[in-house]
């Protein structure tokens, strides 16, 4: 119990530092936000009034306090650039798109990685294993924007299987939504697939050398059953750690993919906001992303105990 409380305190401290960092960084932006909102060529008094209204002339700490205390109640301010909605509303509109893409990417990666890794580990050193390992290493070296462009080139333009640069919301039309999301999700999945396959293969090979696997084999259990029931769970430990670590990259490739396919998610929103100097939107979006990231990582930490009973005993 005490460990959880400590952990939560640390989380809060980290979030506090992150929020202050984001807030301070974005307010250092060059250019006057008042000019950005109104445009050039208004009477001077207009700018002064607007700065007053937005509280831009207050000291940094006061402004941070105002921002943070309203952020806690779910109000992240208003976007400066048209369409000038509530930042919270904009984020809530964009979040499901990014969430769907990232989840689909992760699922595709897992669904492909587990059988590939099992096949590779079962035939370690063979031709198929060597081909799988080599191509996974090659995939790791393809940045996601390049992979995305290549896949668009081949599947959307060359073969015409997929549409590009459109988005259909889940609520409107599920099959069309999946059809539109599949290619972007594949791009996101590629990098994760390569990492997952590599790590799971290596761990499986180690596990398969354990005595209890030998015992299972001696009992005459078929190899695929040993693989699925005995070897997979103890080997998935590093995989889960890796999934926590890859979350940052997952978010990064989601940003790239949304930009590339012009999908209305968090990533394209942040890139546009950063280009336009829309600082409340950047602040709000980065804060939400950091929140998700920190919470997910903490829950992965907790989930170790369920996956691997050995860690439970050590800390109890």
């Amino acid at each position: 119990m005490r460990r959880i409380a400590l952990r939560a305190g640390e989380l809060l401290a980290v979030l506090f530092v992150v929020s202050f960092g984001v807030f301070a960084m974005v307010t250092l932006m060059p250019g006057d936000p008042a000019v950005a909102i109104l445009g050039e060529g208004h009477p001077k008094q207009d700018y002064v009034d607007l700065r007053q209204e937005l509280g831009l002339d207050d000291p940094l700490l006061t402004r941070y306090w105002h921002w943070l205390s309203s952020a806690v109640t779910g109000d992240l301010g208003r976007s400066l650039v048209p369409p000038q909605g509530d930042v919270t509303d904009r984020i809530l509109g964009a979040l499901p798109v990014s969430f769907q893409l990232a989840t689909m990417g992760l699922l595709i990666a897992l669904v492909l990685a587990v059988p590939l890794a099992m096949w590779s580990a079962a035939h370690a050193g063979g031709l198929v294993d060597r081909i799988i390992s080599a191509s996974m290493f090659a995939i790791l070296s393809i940045p996601s924007f390049l992979a995305g462009l290549l896949l668009i080139m081949v599947f959307a333009n060359g073969l015409g299987w997929f549409p590009r640069a459109q988005w259909v919301r889940i609520s409107e039309d599920l099959p069309a939504n999946l059809h539109h999301a599949l290619l972007p999700a594949l791009v996101i999945a590629m990098m994760e697939l390569a990492l997952f396959t590599r790590i799971l293969r290596n761990d499986l090979i180690v596990t398969l050398n354990e005595d209890y696997i030998l015992a299972a084999r001696a009992k005459g259990m078929p190899p695929w059953r040993i693989m699925v029931t005995d070897a997979l769970r103890p080997s998935s430990f590093s995989l889960v750690t890796l999934m926590g670590i890859s979350l940052g990259r997952l978010i990064g490739s989601t940003v790239i993919v949304e930009y590339l396919f012009a999908l209305p998610g968090m990533g394209s929103m942040i890139v546009t906001a950063a280009n336009q100097g829309d600082f409340p939107l950047v602040q709000g979006a980065v804060l939400i992303i950091a929140l998700v990231y920190v919470v997910v990582n903490a829950s992965i930490d907790v989930s170790y105990g369920y996956l691997d009973p050995r860690t439970r005993r050590v800390h109890a």
Binding site: V14, V154, V255, I256, I289
Partner: protein, 345 residues
Amino acid sequence: MRSDKSRARAENRTRTLLVGAALLVAGGAVAGFGWTTPTLVLAGKAVLVLAGLGLIFHGIARLVVGFRGKPVDLLFVLAVVWLIGICVAAVLAPLLPLGEHNDVAKTLVEPTNMAPSLLTDHPLGTNNQGLDLLSRSLHGARTSLAISLLAVTIGTVVGGAIGVMAGYFRKGVDSVVGIFTNALLAVPPLILLITLSTFLDPSLRNMALALSLLTIPSMVRLARANTIAFAQREFVMAARLMGATRFRVMTRELVPNVLLPVCSMAVVMISALIVAEASLSFLGLGIQQPDPTWGNMIAEGEGGAMEDYPHIVLVPGAFLFLTVFSFNLLGEKAQKRWDTRSAKL
């Protein structure tokens, strides 16, 4: 008896050489057919070319085994050769007899969007403004490599120093450093870079500083973990008992031991930084046109140009891929040798 054995070995060698040569020729034929054939779609061509290159690779590997009598890690050798080549070319880029890389005014009479053809003035083709792609790729390598190497150096020095101090002093220093590293790690790398780019001018120096922020937290963690492990060893205790100052213990006893894992981590990070820099340039938030980087060159292919002129994306893409691949290979080797603990992840 002996002559039998040596004859068998010679026969074996001849066979290896023959198989190698056959693979080489077959690979060349397949790749050449894939490259030139008009009957296939792009995907089919790419598969054929890749298969051909694979065959050529195996052919060369066999030939090397035949000549030298023992296998070599051919891929590693090729990676090192590529890296040395690209670094030398990047350093010498302004001196080499290359086409124009960023001044549009000088390319008014040059052909635009020319496809690569090796024996002309533009071996890798030109872009939509007639700028030479080979020249742009090499100048892009200059920027990319300069930024990533600078960033990784800053990150290693600063992060390593902070990590060693946190690991040696523990207590208060350690928890403060811990909170700050966790805070830096709590923002996904690309998001951090995008946020920084909202108020930083995209110059070479600023890019390097921004990217170094990505490397610092992991360097701190690695250096700290290694320092804690070494600080409990006898030689550190001995140095302390002999009256060495804390500074001396850290610089003379701890740093030399922490250096190897930290440096192998640095090699691994270079490729991640090259990718990060390219991604940022691709998003239009990094180094701006007309100055070339691999990322903004690839971005030129967006919005229709790629369909008609795939080489606009493929040429800088190939440079980026080969460089990242080589650094990954190098980094993996370095980690396997010097930092067995984090090599797993």
